[in-house]
Structures are given as structure tokens and as C-alpha cells.
Symmetry: C2
Subunit: 386 residues, 2 copies
Amino acid sequence: MSKFKEKSLDLHKANLGKLDIIPNVRLKTREDLSLAYTPGVSYPCLEIQKNKEKAYEYTIKGKTVAIITDGSAVLGLGNIGPEASLPVMEGKSALLYSFSGIQAIPLALATQEPEEIIKTAKLISPNYSAIMLEDISAPNCVEIEKRLQKELDIPIFHDDQHGTAIVVSAALLNALKVVKKDIKSIKVVVSGLGAAGSAIIKLLTKLGVKEIYGYDILGIVNNKKYHKYNSVVKNLIDNNYLLLAKDEKNLTDLIKNKDVFIGVSAKNILTSEMVKGMKENSIIFAMANPDPEIKPELAKKAGAKIVGTGRSDYPNQINNVLVFPGLMKAVIENRIKTITDEIKIITAKAIAKLVKDEELSEDFILPDIFDKRVVKSIVNAIKKKA
Amino acid sequence: MSKFKEKSLDLHKANLGKLDIIPNVRLKTREDLSLAYTPGVSYPCLEIQKNKEKAYEYTIKGKTVAIITDGSAVLGLGNIGPEASLPVMEGKSALLYSFSGIQAIPLALATQEPEEIIKTAKLISPNYSAIMLEDISAPNCVEIEKRLQKELDIPIFHDDQHGTAIVVSAALLNALKVVKKDIKSIKVVVSGLGAAGSAIIKLLTKLGVKEIYGYDILGIVNNKKYHKYNSVVKNLIDNNYLLLAKDEKNLTDLIKNKDVFIGVSAKNILTSEMVKGMKENSIIFAMANPDPEIKPELAKKAGAKIVGTGRSDYPNQINNVLVFPGLMKAVIENRIKTITDEIKIITAKAIAKLVKDEELSEDFILPDIFDKRVVKSIVNAIKKKA
């Protein structure tokens, strides 16, 4: 066993997982018991019975998020089921708390049926002030999120979609400043049209991007393949979020003269040849994990001006952890019921503006993930709006 | 507002509820992140994917109980719904941890349909090593527990039923020692035939009691009312757990010449007159909360030898908190899949034997709820068996 593997397994074993659920009250005496349990506990119960909103004050609902998964699309591992996905969900909870102080409990469900996931999430919703959906495969995740947001009065957030879209937006806003291009005139290719890709395309459109082309496992998106796409891709086409390729036959054709390539797809699908065909001062976000669509050094050599990846060992790490801690803290503290596109854009801009103009460079377009100002900046920006 | 009420509300408000869900790992550096989250987290994920049982070692599943309620029968408060029941569930979790170190997360469900509760409990079960059902009204609770125990491979424990039955059994075993009566020859009346009453009747039968009569909101249980009873009471009659009254017309008639009265019903339904009609050296457990079926001083004056209640301000407090912390710890540590009648009896005897023969008296039949030996005694007794 490698030292790293051993260390990770030991860490997960030492305390049976990475979270603890422990009382913050003392229960040593009869008086303690009479306040925290019967008969004293009846007072908060009755207050909440009179007004459900009081649950936010007197119970863990006021500070707790559910992290719901079906284990169908776990990062880098695929469809590994609920039990095996738990370490990732606990990790997400631990990250959320460490960065923002917001608490979260994992809930890995023994079903991958969208209707069952929706039903379960609704039935358990009284306990939480928000629900994060996590590592649920597309297109189910899109439908599940939409339905839950419509049918529940707490915010629903699917990080794989919107966390990624927001951090990509922040990165792109700053990258465009560096290369001095106007967001309204750029041409973009997005590779990967699942949860992340579709959300990125929508949010970039809201931000003003006019021309986005798609590429996925079926190749370049054009009219002939319409019947083969799932509901998510059809929706992108129907609503003109995606433009259709015409005479282009492949990614090499499609990417010619484009300004931006955004990959949330698979390793090594982007070649030096393709990058060479892009417009001057091209921007490449190659975010496939752990191996990007193209190695940054190759992309740079082929002429890309700015390259970002999901990795911490290259410049420009584009990571959702910049987004969800601050965003969840802000929506919970302000009791925001729906995370609208406007809030997503506010969040992206709050992250982007932390890199000052004089600091901005091709190798520095986003704040460091440990930068303590990130959560504060997002919280303040959303609070101002709310 | 009374001082006590104010103190209770303040306690519940100070930290938004009585529980905290917090990481036990550090996430300050990139190395911390790489172990607890990506890429290191993939190792425990893959171990669990190969063998689901490993979730008990690498995740919170190994130490976490779900406390599931529908808020339909909350102690002393009735059907107050999921949100309002949360303070009680959090209190139960806090008690469990304080007494045994076992962690629990409340889950108050937005449904009171048994099929929906069963379905939800099954879908969330991958996250937990056991499920406690709490404050769910009868007869639903009985059916829900039975079905879940059959369909899941983790232990299901409904404290209102079995916690109460076990602690009453412990109390009765010791009370019979004091009055020197043989369990096989006593005649018992149980008042209240809901969750607690039905479980008490069944467990006392397993312990050797031969004659138990029932009384509830419809009066004394006899043949003429058969069609009016719910499935739980019918089941008690059909399987001869309950004997049917014949010529008796009311509780005064029924209780005549009986040895034991066990009340899990309503305040003041037992009168001095009735107690006077009981057999010599009678035993009365009047456990209605907060006001017992008869005031202990009245029962004593009318001739009862031993009186127990649920209250801490009288001798012989008969409280479930003597049971569930040790029992849950024992079944989790020994990976017991079903809490059988045998385990319940072992638990009752482990509690009873903590009061030594020379300490036993009419005012001391059970250990104090803060007695640290209780959990250990239960855990050791069950471990020996498992």
C-alpha cells in the first residue's frame, strides 16, 4: 500500500469518518435534563408549533444543510453507490464547516430514481435550512434540482452545476480583463454537456456571452444529432443557449478562431493542433479531474494565453471550494429561498474582484482557495443585495 | 414568561439547537485537503465499493444512529408535526451521547403515512448503523418497526415501545423480589394499550407472567368490544397476550385481587378505592407523564406496597434513559442486526441486578438514571451473549 493511501485510510478510520455529531449542552444533572429534555423541552416545541419559522432559532435546522447524493456520479469514481460515496460527502461537509462555519450532514440515498430522490428530499426537508445536491448524474440532477426548488421553500444548490458555473464565470471575467476582450464579442466552445457544462453555458449567457458551441461524447453539437441528445442538451439547443455547428466535422474544425475553450469532460481531448487554430490570446479552462483536457504546459506552448485547471499544482486553480462555503453561508444567514441567476452572478463577481487589477496576470486570475476574504466577500455582496 | 421557560428557550437558542455537526479532521493546508477530500478520499470510497461493510470503519455510519419521527405523538404534546418535534429529537440525541458516547442525528419527516415513513427510512438507511423510531403514534409505530426490521439489515429500535417495556420489566423483577411474589403467579392490569402498553404486555409474557388484563380508552378489554380495537390490540387478544374480562364492568371490578397495576395512560384514572381492592403487597407503576395515574402518596396510603412513576421527584423513577443508551451502544458495537426479545430480557436483567439484594427496598427498585454502571452493565451482558 502506498504511504499516501495508508495515510488516507488511517485518517478515515481513526474516528469513524470525518464528522462528529455532539451535544453543545451539558447533561450532567437533573436540572440539565429538565431544561434540555422533559419537561423544559416542551417550550421550544410549542413555540415552533405556533410558528414553524421558529425552528430556525431553536433547532439545528437554523444552521444545518443536508448534502444529498445517490452516489451515481462521484468525483472521479463514477457510479459507486450510496455507502461508498459517504467519504466524499463527509469531506464536503468538513470543507463547508472549515471554510464558513456552516454545518452539514451527509445523506446518501439507496436509490437512483429521480422521483424517489425528490420525494425523500421533500420528506426530510423540515430538518434543514438548505439542501445541497452532490454527485448525482446528469440529466437527473438537473430535473431533481428544478423540481425541488419549485416544491420546497428552502434553497437547493447543486454544486456540480452551479458551483462550477460560478467559479468558471469568475475566472472568465478576470481572464478577459487580462486579454482585454469584451465578453459580448467572444466565441466559446464548451466540451462536456452534463451537469457542469450545461450550467456553465447558461450562466455565461446570462453574463453576456453571445456565441457558445458545444462538444460532447457524441462529437460536435449539430442539428443532425438532435434526436440523440438528452433533455438537458435539447433544452440548451431549444433555448438558443447553444449555437449549432454547421459544416464543421470535428473539434479541430469547431475550435478554429474561437476565443475560449472550457472543458468539463475528459483528459487529453484537446490537442496542441487545436489550440494553435484558436484566435489570438486564447483562454483555456481544462477542468477534467484529475487529468485535464490538455496539459497546461502543452496548451501554453501551442499559444494559449491563459490556462486554468482544477488542480492545485498549476497556476489558476478553478475550484468550487471558492464558491459553496460563502454562498451557502450567505443564503442561510439571509434566509434566501432560491439561489437565482442574479445571486450566482453576484457571487462570481464577488470572487473575481478579490484579484485587484494590478495583481491580475495570465497566471493569477482567481484568489487562492485558502484566501479568507473569499467567504466574507461573497457573504457581504449577497447581504447587500438581500 | 416564567424563569424556567425563559431559561429553556435561551438554552435552545444560544447555539441554534442542542447539537453540532463538526469535522474531526483538520482542513488548513493543501495536504489536509488532499487526504480528507480529493484525491485521497477515493481510497476509502473504493474500499467501501469493494465491501459495503467497510462503511462501518471509514464513515460516520459506524457510530451514527438516525432518530426518526413523524411528530405524531411527541411526549406530553401529542401531534405537533415534524418541525416542532425537533427539540425533543435533539434532546434524545444529546442524552444518548452524554450517557453512552453514541452519536445520533434527528430526522423529523414531513409525513405521517406509514408507507412513506417506511420507504424514507429504507432509502436513508445506508448512512446509519441503527434506526431509533421516536414519538410515532400507535398503531403505526408497531407496523413501521416490524416492517423496517424485516426489510433492513440494521437494528430498529422504537424506544416508546421497547425502552419502556424493558425498564418496566427491570422494575417489576426487583419489585417482585421485595414483595416475595413469583412472576409466574401474579395477576397484572395494564392501563393504556398503545405503543408502550402493548410492548410491556408482550415482554412481561416472555418473562413468565401468565395473567394480564387490559384497560384503555374504551374501558376494560372484553370480547364484546373486539371489533372496535385497532390492529395492535387485536393482535394482543388473538395471541393470548391479553386475557379478556368476563363479568367485570369497569376498572374497579377488574383490578380487584390483582397484584400489579401498570399505567401508561392518563392522569388520575386510578383511585384509592381501586388500590384498596388489590391483593396484598400490591405493586403500582403509574407512568403517565407528567401526572401519574395516581399520586404516589395516595396509592401508598391506600395500601400499595411499591409505587413507581416516571418522575424524578418520587422514589422509583422508571425512565427509558436507563435503557436506550446502553442498549444502542451494545447493538452497534456488536453489529447486532435485530434486537430480539432475548436481548430485551438480558437488558432488563442487567439493569435490575445493579440493585443488590441488600439494597433492595420498596423505595429503591431501580438504579439512579445517572448511575454510570448502567450502560456498562448492559453492554457487558449483551456482549457476553453476542
